[in-house]
Structures are given as structure tokens and as C-alpha cells.
Amino acid sequence: DVKIGFIVKQPEEPWFQDEWKFADVAAKEKGFTLVKIGAEDGEKVQSAIDNLGAQGAQGFIICTPDVKLGPGIVAKAAANDLKLMTVDDRLVNADGSPIEDVPHMGISATKIGEAVGQSIVDEIKKRGWDMKDVGAIRVSYDQLPTAVDRVEGALSVLKAAGFPEANIFDAPQAKTDTEAALNAATVVLNKNAGIKKWVAVGLNDEAVLGAVRASESVGIPADSMIGVGIGGADSAINEFKKPAPTGFFGTVIISPKRHGYETALNMYEWIANGKEPEKLTLTAGQIALRDNYEQVRKDLGIE
């Protein structure tokens, strides 16, 4: 019997739900058991691995709550004699260099951010805005390293395209939900009432959505707002389904299918047939807009 664990850092997030769902598909195809465990912090990760060991699993895939947990996870996996693969976030050593022995599939947070930034720059140009008149809301959640990498990635593209640094405003979220982003973004908008055109970036769709709602509540018309989110989950799709376009311009969809299905499959092959997976597989995010999101989703194998 093959038993494989799949540990994720935020089990409530739709993204991870989807990863699990696709991993389940692989499990059904190959006839192995998949054990899904949520582990929000380092301590939970440790006990989750112990738990898998106790259940007699042979290996597991993990999206770690923090990449610095690397050495601990590697040691724990070894102690429990479990094969280890990572997804989404790559483990690093104490010195910050990636642990290259552990097979990984993912996409770099910075890369996703850059895709966001690029689509915003393109749209600004298309609308013919002057970057000097445009403000950027940086909905930030800096205690999450991935979040920092994502927004910084997006902003670096903006800056490279000539976006004035002085027009970038920080809107720190107290929590990662839409309401917190909405409240933080409202302050930025009110503080800079002189700026009429805005763009917004954030850690995920919910954060950008908050900025878009804030722009609506202070009366900024939808065509003066370009918000690009990350994830492509239902919050974003709901925006596209609204009868009139909103300031939520697009979202970078990353495919949970590959991340979930392929990692589970690779792990199975590794355990059952001794076929070791690639050390590093990088996937790509794809920008989805109001008029093409269904096609993009289909391309990525969602729905």
C-alpha cells in the first residue's frame, strides 16, 4: 500500500484546497492513499510529519509555512524515513540558500509579482495614462515573506517602466482578509485625494479586491483603477462575472492542477517505482482578464 502525505500551510485557502483536490485525482488514478494535513506553523509541521510517520506513510509533499523550516523538515523526514518533496515554496538552509536535494515544484513569488507588474504596465500604456498622475496602492502584509516577494516583484516592474517611486503608497493589512485591505486602502485613497488614477497590487486576489472596493467607496470610477490580483480563485472570478467591469482588471492564475496532481504523481512514482522526480520544476503563472479568464482556466486545466 502506498500512502502519501500532502501538507499545506493554509488549509482554508482555496488555492490549497485545489492542490489537494488535484492530488486526490492522482490518488484515485493510481490507487494510493492521500493523507491531507494542514500545518499553519513550524510546530504543526513537526507533528504532522510525526503523524505521517506513525501512520506508515512512505513519503510526503509539503508547502511549508516558512522556507527557513528547511533543515528541520529534512531532518524530521529522515527520522521518520519519509521521502520528501516540496511544492510552491522551496526550502532553504540557515544561510538562505535553497536546499537543492529536495525535489521541488513551484513558481517563484517574485516571478508571479513580475507578471502582475507587467500586466499593469501594459494596461497603463494602453489607457494612455501618464505615470506621474497615477498612484499605486501596495496592499502589504509584510510579516509573510512570500507576500513581500510578490508585491516587490510587481513594483520592480512598475519602477523599471518609469513609475515614480513617490507615487507608491503602502497600505498595510492587519489581517489577510478583504476587509482589512479595504480599510487600509481607504486611508491611502483619502490621504491622496488629489490623485485620480490608481493601480493596486497585493499578496492575493482578496487584498487587491479590498483596494478595488475602497476605490469604489470613495467614488473612483472603475476605469480609473487597475487592480491585478494573484491566484485566480473564486473571488477574482466573481469580479469578472459581475455585469459591469470593475476596477479589478485581472489576476495572475497559477495552476493548482500541476502543483497538486503532478507532485502527487511524481511522489507515487518515486515510492512505487523508484523513479526519482526532477530536482526542480518551475511552472508559470498566466494573466487572466475579464474577457479571457475562462479560456485561461481551461488552458491551465481548471474546471
Binding site: Q17, D170, P172, V187, N190, E206, R213, A233, S235
Partner: protein
């Protein structure tokens, strides 16, 4: 001099301190005292403000409710899902109120009838209800089909958005209930001495059930408004709301040991929380430092109030 002292040390001392602090902030922080910012500030405290109304009753009667955040999220979800399914916003609202009220009622029932510690009970329902919200939506945000739903939050009356009016009405109504009705007085009496109140003929257990049921209903109202503001039902909304609301109440002088509460205090508490966030963002304080500043403001506010009441000779 003495009249100033009287003002500061009197019943309304907290309000006076707050007014002074507000004036200082208004004069020193740019962009603070603009109409837009004020409206934004008020809108940002709508959820906390509404829920604080009934949390005040809950604390005043020596109880505790940790399930408010989950109930807000759950009833928001229900409102969206029910109105999507039925095509009628009214059905959605009624469903949300029913669900919120039911959660509160169950809380109250378990706490009052089975005499289970309120902290544990509501900690349990907090998780259960959050679970329900996640299960119902499969962990995803649910979009609103009927744009009319957004109008709940977007519509304005006399230039002020509806949610702020709702909050103001709740403040007035619950302030009245606390001070001018038997219900309010009985709540305070239960908090002061539950056994003595019971022997004085107050039906303590049905009072507690009522208070929790009311809390649930009010959470549902907050949940509906929140869903309308963020144009979707989100199962992860309002996490950690319970602690913010309880802090706002305690800041406003509501005693956790029961028996002491005042609506003006709670309003001030809610506003202090909102202004702190608002000003920190206006001043562009870095995210990590915001934690520290938030904590210090909390401490400072209670410290000031304590000094005041110590000077006034009230006993802790």
C-alpha cells in the same frame, strides 16, 4: 481649575480625554480631519462598532463571547448564498438573521442551561461555526449575483453611507436599552452578583440566553453589511474580530468582572481603535512598528482612564 478637574474626573472623563486626544490628532496629522477620511474611518469601524453593542451586554453580565467573528463570517456567507439561491435579497437577509440568532441562541442555551463556561462554549462554537462557513462555501468566496445587494453598503443618506447610519442607530438603541430598560438594568445586576440577582427574582438563565441570542442577531447584521461592502461572502472574514471587539469594550470601561458598562465608553473605545489604525496608516508607520504602536495605545488609553478613576476615588 476645579471645574476642569471635575470635568476630567467625572463620569464623562473618558469622553473628555478622548476629545482632547482627537483634537491633538486632528491638528497634527495631515489629511486626518477631512470629510473623506472621517467617513472612511467610520466605515472601517462599522463591524467592530455594531458587534460591540451586544458584546457590551455580554461582558456586563459577566459572560464572554469568542464566537462573534465566526458568526459574522457565517451569516454573511448565508446571506449571500441564500439570496443567490432564491434570487431575493430579503430572503438572504432573513436567512442570515435566523442563522446568526440561532448560533447565539445555542451559545446561550449551552451556557445558561448546562452551565458550561462561556469562554469554552464560545471557543467551541467559534470553531464549529467557522467550520460550517468553510464547509458551506467549500472554503471559497461566494460572489453576489444581484447587484442590488451592494447597495446595502454603497447607498447613502444625507451623504453618509448606510452602514454608518446602521451603526449609529445601534449605538442609540443599545445605549437606551442599557440605561433605560429593565433588560439593561437586569444585565448589569447579573454582572454585579448573579446569585443575588437570581434570588431577587431576575430570571438569570433566560436573560443570558436572550443576551447571547441578541449577540448572534447583531453579528448577522454586521455580517450582512460586511458581505455587501466586500461584495462577496468570505468564509475567512472577520477572524480575530472577537479580541478587537472585547478590547474596544474594555477600553470603553466595560468591566470584565461584570456589572459595569456604558454606551458612551464603548463608542469611545471603538473610535480609539479605529483612529489608531487610521492615523498609523496616514502617518505611514511601518507594518511591524504598527504592532508596537497599537499595543502602546491600548495600554496608554487604559492607563489614563485608570489614573483618572483612581484620582476620582473609585475603587478598582
Amino acid at each position: 481649575m476645579t471645574s476642569l478637574k471635575k470635568l476630567l474626573l467625572g463620569e464623562q472623563g473618558l469622553v473628555v480625554i478622548f476629545a482632547v486626544a482627537f483634537a491633538v490628532v486632528a491638528l497634527t496629522v495631515p489629511n486626518f480631519l477631512t470629510e473623506r477620511n472621517m467617513l472612511g474611518l467610520l466605515q472601517s469601524v462599522v463591524t467592530i462598532g455594531i458587534v460591540a453593542c451586544t458584546m457590551m451586554f455580554c461582558l456586563a453580565s459577566r459572560d464572554f463571547d469568542l464566537s462573534v467573528g465566526s458568526t459574522v463570517a457565517f451569516s454573511g456567507m448565508i446571506a449571500v448564498m441564500a439570496s443567490n439561491a432564491s434570487g431575493s435579497i430579503v430572503v438572504g437577509l432573513v436567512a442570515a438573521l435566523l442563522c446568526g440568532g440561532a448560533v447565539g441562541f445555542v451559545n446561550g442555551l449551552v451556557i445558561a442551561r448546562f452551565r458550561i463556561n462561556a469562554l469554552i462554549t464560545t471557543l467551541a462554537t467559534m470553531q464549529i461555526v467557522r467550520g460550517f462557513a468553510l464547509i458551506a462555501s467549500d472554503g471559497r468566496a461566494v460572489g453576489i449575483n444581484d447587484p442590488g445587494f451592494y447597495q446595502l453598503a454603497l447607498s447613502k443618506f444625507l451623504g453618509i453611507p448606510t452602514p454608518i447610519w446602521v451603526m449609529a442607530i445601534f449605538f442609540i438603541v443599545f445605549g437606551f436599552v442599557l440605561n433605560r430598560t429593565v433588560f439593561g438594568k437586569n444585565t448589569l445586576a447579573i454582572g454585579g452578583n448573579p446569585e443575588a440577582s437570581r434570588l431577587a427574582g431576575v430570571d438569570v438563565s433566560s436573560m443570558r440566553i436572550w443576551i447571547f441570542a441578541l449577540q448572534g442577531l447583531v453579528c448577522a447584521v454586521a455580517g450582512v453589511l460586511l458581505a455587501s461592502r466586500i461584495t462577496s461572502g468570505q468564509p475567512n472574514a472577520a477572524t480575530g474580530l472577537e479580541l478587537s471587539v472585547i478590547s474596544a469594550c474594555v477600553l470603553g470601561g466595560v468591566s470584565l468582572a461584570g456589572g459595569r458598562a456604558a454606551m458612551t465608553g464603548v463608542i469611545v473605545g471603538v473610535l480609539i481603535m479605529g483612529i489608531a489604525e487610521n492615523v498609523m496608516n496616514l502617518l505611514n508607520i511601518q507594518a511591524f512598528y504598527q504592532y508596537v504602536v497599537r499595543g502602546l495605545i491600548l495600554l496608554l488609553a487604559v492607563l489614563l482612564d485608570n489614573l483618572r478613576s483612581a484620582a476620582a476615588g473609585r475603587r478598582g
